[in-house]
């Protein structure tokens, strides 16, 4: 959640090299008969609609590759039908990929056999679902402990662990309720606790808050931010809500028709949209809330940059605005110790006022 402040701009479109928590390479999913015959032929380059008309197959995910660093919150964003929910299911093979590979913590998931895959799901990765997927015939505590139960832990151990998780997600006192006695937000907390109970390295969220009303949704987003700070898991988060993506994501992958449109940090997505589709998408976003000074600074004129206040390049415009406006003359912008540019009142106002104009 702190990436916008401290992640270097240059390395943000790919995760830090080396041991990534999750590495996805050339991943495809085509629904339909003889789908595996399509990849590698010219048909694979057709648009989704053309492919469907020609072969009757639907390409849900087309040639997707990305890496997720340990501890990163990686958001996959797209509208309904963009393939994002399919993508997240491919990662743990809840849906079998047609082609490509997924590696998680050095394990190759795509080639794992049933037992290996089950082991992986039981210990290394957990998922939170849009419609919760709770078991209505079990109490909250037994829902939370279900994953531990299926992997054969004894009753006492899983009760203790489940109780910890219930407390962690703020449901203390509701252990013995049944899911249908809880509100939607509380049910999703149970889903979250269930996912956390197995102490997985990677957490997957499939539009977890879409079914909740806006206030509860905001609470739950903050809850995820808090949990991320507390437990520091790698997270893959699926959403169709841009604000949610910008709020939670260290990096955001934008999908359309099964393909990657752009991968980048929130400020990259807003500041430098890859195409008109993304530009259109982000047009309503308050830019001053997302962009950093890096995106608004300019090269120092001769005579500027000699003295006065100094700010770091990854400060968000909105946060830095008051200081810049209060200063007399341009403010110097540093990347570490190196002077990279200056901003003055004009540069700040351009972003803020443009927003006002676009909103009115």
């Amino acid at each position: 959640m702190t990436a916008t402040q401290d992640q270097p701009n240059t390395s943000s479109s790919t995760a830090s090299t080396g041991d990534s928590a999750l590495a996805v390479k050339d991943l495809w999913k085509i629904f339909g008969d003889r789908a595996d015959k399509i990849i590698g032929t010219p048909d694979a380059d057709l648009t989704r609609k053309e492919l469907q008309t020609k072969t009757g197959c639907v390409a849900a995910v087309k040639d997707v590759s990305f890496d997720v660093a340990p501890g990163e919150v990686f958001v996959v964003m797209g509208l309904s039908g963009s393939g994002k929910s399919t993508l997240v299911r491919l990662l743990t093979r809840l849906i079998e990929p047609t082609h490509g590979s997924v590696q998680m913590g050095g394990e190759d998931i795509t080639s794992a056999d049933d037992a290996k895959l089950r082991e992986l799901r039981r210990k290394h990765v957990a998922m939170v679902f849009q419609h919760f997927g709770l078991l209505p015939h079990r109490k909250v505590i037994d829902n939370v402990g279900f994953g531990l139960e299926v992997r054969g832990e004894n009753r006492q151990a899983r009760r203790n662990r489940a109780q910890e998780m219930v407390d962690l997600v703020g449901l203390s006192g509701y252990e013995n309720s049944y899911p249908d006695q809880l509100s939607g937000g509380m049910q999703q907390r149970v889903g979250l606790a269930r996912a956390l109970a197995a102490d997985p390295q990677v957490l997957m969220f499939d539009e977890p808050f879409s079914a909740l009303d806006p206030l509860i949704r905001r609470d739950m987003q903050n809850e995820v931010i808090r949990l991320h700070e507390e437990v520091g898991k790698t997270m893959v988060f699926i959403t169709h809500d841009l604000a949610e993506a910008l709020k939670l994501g260290d990096r955001i992958l934008i999908m359309r028709d099964g393909e990657i449109v752009q991968v980048g940090t929130p400020d990259q997505v807003v500041g430098a949209p890859a195409d008109d589709y993304v530009r259109d998408f982000v047009s309503d976003v308050p830019k001053s809330h997302v962009l950093t000074l890096r995106w608004v600074m300019r090269q120092p004129q001769p005579g500027e940059g000699e003295g006065g206040p100094a700010l770091q390049a990854d400060r968000i415009v909105r946060d830095a605005a008051r200081e810049v406006l209060a200063a007399h003359g341009p403010v110097r912008v540093f990347e570490g110790d190196e002077l990279v540019g200056v901003v003055d009142d004009e540069d700040i106002l351009r972003v803020v006022v443009a927003e006002e104009a676009s909103q009115s």
């Binding site: 629904f31 339909g32 609609k49 639907v58 849900a60 309904s80 039908g81 393939g83 929910s85 399919t86 299911r89 743990t92 093979r93 809840l94 849906i95 079998e96 049933d114 895959l117 089950r118 082991e119 992986l120 799901r121 039981r122 210990k123 990765v125 957990a126 998922m127 679902f129 849009q130 419609h131 919760f132 997927g133 709770l134 078991l135 209505p136 015939h137 079990r138 279900f146 994953g147 139960e149 299926v150 992997r151 013995n176 309720s177 049944y178 889903g191 269930r194 197995a198 997957m204």
Partner: protein, 700 residues
């Protein structure tokens, strides 16, 4: 996890991307049907009485003679120790007979050397009550006790016990076979694809049709009764089990999958618990079907309450039939309520208090406050409820008085044999006969007028049209109707079914039966639409009428014959009335649900356009519930058909009468069997036409 994969549909495509709309085709169905009717009427007028294939009652056909021969061969083979008939079938038959006899000697018939059963009536009442308490709660336990006592009071103690024995044995076997089968079908498409058509056939075939062949294989008596009850009762259980497992939300199955469950864990910890309530509903349906068939099985000498009903019907003794019928109705209500209560309890513990009833709750509360911690669970802001441990302990303690009752019922004759002195059955029968006589005399004019109106206005002309047309004209007309309504697939089925009916040599009888079926179905739909529209539009009407329909639905078809017989004496029309009464509840419910299911926003929009009540019904609610209407007609048809056959008992004539005669007259065995085949063919034909018509016209 390949099963998960196949279940996920391709990603949803928005409407903008796929603007595929089926072109509305104007099929001119009405004109086509009118054309068929004109040709038919013309043909009838010109060719009336030619090629009608009338077969006198005692005449044999090639098929019936051959079937008679086949029966003789089979009986010979069985008596000579043929491995199949004597070994396999005989083995099953002996096992079932032995099991039923064992249970009978336990609770219903004398167990030599004792002059009475092993457990007398007091012990049985105590045991049944305890069992009711264990599975369905205190109120149901009282209902159970009341019902079995009522068997005794009307003088049908051992018949009532026998009916319960046959029903229970059949249901237990159904569960042993049906539950695993249903689960397998839900988990494997191939199993489902293989079994579903068999279930279809089993459900379309009127129960009567397979009584005779079963009696041939299993002999008359308990074994045949159990087997035919089994065949009749297992399809709903299998279907509902499959449905229950299938309708566990995909997202839950997926969530469990993401936690790494094995297939066995998925089944045992997710799918079965979540489907439990549906499965218990399946057991309920299975039980009700088993009870209704267990009574009909009296035709193959199956023990139970069906026997006195048949005997009374044959003597046209309405009173006696009514008393035995009443016992059946009580049994039906008891079994239905108990299994329903069991299903509600199986849902969750919190419902437990409710089943105790009001005064029970208060007592329970007082009791629980004085109990140690293990006995009551404090739940937030709710009354304390007994824990499973407390329930088990209480049930265990109650076994002591039950055991005492059983002991006394073995020791004292008066507690073993239900006292004859309290038998009020004959008195009730006499009273009913007197009442019926005076009542029927009073309404005689009205009922006769009604009977004559329907007979002369609909029944006779239609029967003349169908049965007096040349067979080939009639066959063509049916084919044409099938084609116009359903397309070429049901037409092929119709052709095959017509060939089968012709093959049985009972074409004319089949047409008479078909006429009765159609007239009854029309009556059913008129009543169902009137009642159903009323119920669908008025919450209050629904609340009042629905419980009656629910109760009527659990009454075995057999019992409907009794009031019909009382009102209209023995005639073809009586069978039609009984069939109508039998089919109206289900059809009414379907129509009412359809009307209620019309989107409220559409109704509101129509009202805001200033629509009248009549327009609302005819232009909005009925057209929009077309699917339900078609389904109601289909179900109504099948119910009517099965009942029209049973109506052979009360003067229904034609195929039904032939089937029944086949049971009693040796030389008519083959013909009765042939009639059963013809009825099955009729049923399949009507079902297919209705189903394909439903698929075509059902989508509003």
């Amino acid at each position: 996890m390949t099963t998960l994969q196949t279940k996920r549909p391709a990603p949803a495509v928005t409407k903008e991307e796929q603007p595929y709309v089926e072109q509305g085709r104007n099929r001119h169905t009405g004109w086509w049907l009118l054309g068929i009717a004109v040709v038919w009427l013309g043909g009838w007028a010109l060719l009336r009485g030619i090629d009608t294939l009338v077969l006198p009652f005692q005449d044999q056909t090639t098929l019936s003679t051959w079937l008679n021969g086949l029966r003789d061969d089979i009986q010979l083979a069985a008596s000579q120790g043929n491995w199949f008939f004597d070994g396999v079938i005989g083995g099953i038959s002996d096992a079932l007979d032995g099991l039923v006899t064992f249970l009978q000697q336990l609770i219903s018939t004398p167990a030599p050397p004792r002059p009475v059963p092993e457990i007398g009536w007091l012990g049985v009442v105590a045991l049944f009550g305890w069992f009711g308490l264990a599975v369905a709660g205190a109120r149901m336990a009282l209902l159970v006790i009341g019902t079995v006592l009522a068997f005794g009071f009307v003088g049908y103690w051992s018949d009532g016990m026998d009916t319960l024995i046959i029903t229970t044995v059949a249901v237990v076997i159904c569960c042993i076979i049906g539950l695993p089968l249903g689960i397998a079908m839900a988990r494997r498409k191939s199993v489902s694809a293989a079994v579903t058509p068999v279930l279809d056939l089993m459900q379309t075939m009127p129960a009567f049709a397979y009584l005779a062949p079963l009696a041939l294989f299993f002999g008359i008596g308990a074994a045949s009764a159990v087997v035919c009850t089994l065949i009749y009762a297992i399809p709903p259980l299998v279907r509902i089990t499959e449905h229950g497992i299938r309708s566990v939300p995909a997202t839950t199955v997926e969530a469990a999958g993401s936690l790494g469950v094995t297939k066995r864990q998925l089944l045992r910890q997710v799918q079965i618990p979540m489907a439990r309530r549906t499965i218990v509903v399946g057991v309920n349906q299975c039980t009700m079907a088993a009870l209704s068939m267990a009574t009909i099985a009296a035709y193959v000498n199956g023990p139970g309450l069906g026997k006195p009903v048949i005997a009374a019907l044959q003597n046209l003794d309405v009173g006696a039939a009514a008393v035995a019928g009443l016992a059946i109705v009580l049994a039906a209500i008891m079994l239905d309520r108990t299994t329903t209560a069991a299903s509600e309890r199986s849902q969750r513990d919190s419902a437990r208090v409710a089943s105790v009833g009001r005064p029970g709750v208060v007592m329970m509360q007082v009791l629980l406050e004085k109990l140690p911690r293990w006995a009551s669970e404090e739940t937030k802001g709710r009354r304390p409820i007994p824990t499973p441990a407390f329930r088990r302990a209480a049930l265990g303690l109650l076994l002591i008085p039950v055991a005492i009752c059983v002991y006394y019922s073995r020791t004292f004759l008066s507690l073993a044999q239900f006292p004859e002195s309290v038998n009020v059955g004959p008195d009730i029968a006499k009273w009913i006969n007197d009442f019926t006589d005076s009542f029927v005399n009073a309404v005689d004019t009205f009922t006769n007028a009604f009977k004559n109106f329907i007979s002369y206005a609909f029944l006779n002309p239609l029967q003349s049209l169908m049965a007096e047309s040349p067979w080939w004209l009639m066959a063509l007309v049916l084919l044409a109707i099938a084609f116009v309504l359903g397309g070429w697939r049901p037409t092929v089925t119709t052709a095959v079914c017509e060939a089968v009916i012709l093959g049985t040599g009972l074409w004319n009888d089949a047409m008479v039966t078909l006429t009765m079926t159609i007239v009854a179905t029309v009556l059913v739909m008129i009543l169902a639409m009137l009642l159903g529209v009323w119920m669908g539009r008025s919450r209050r009407a629904d609340t009042v009428i629905r419980p009656f329909l629910d109760t009527f639905q659990v009454i075995p078809p057999f019992v409907y014959l009794v009031p019909a017989l009382a009102l209209f004496s023995s005639s073809r029309f009586t069978a039609i009335i009984a069939a109508t009464a039998y089919a109206v509840p289900i059809a009414t419910k379907l129509v009412a649900d359809g009307i209620r299911g019309v989107s409220p926003s559409t109704v509101e929009a129509a009202r805001s356009a200033g629509i009248t009540k009549r327009q609302m019904i005819t232009k909005v609610q009925l057209p929009m519930s077309r699917e339900a209407l078609v389904l109601a007609t289909n179900q109504g048809l099948l119910y009517v058909l099965s009942m029209v056959v049973i109506g052979g008992m009360v003067g229904g004539g034609s195929l039904g009468y032939l089937v029944i005669s086949g049971f009693s007259q040796t030389q008519l065995f083959g013909k009765g069997l042939a009639a059963g085949i013809a009825i099955t063919a009729l049923g399949v034909m009507l079902d297919r036409i209705a189903r394909y018509a439903a698929a075509r016209y059902g989508r509003a």
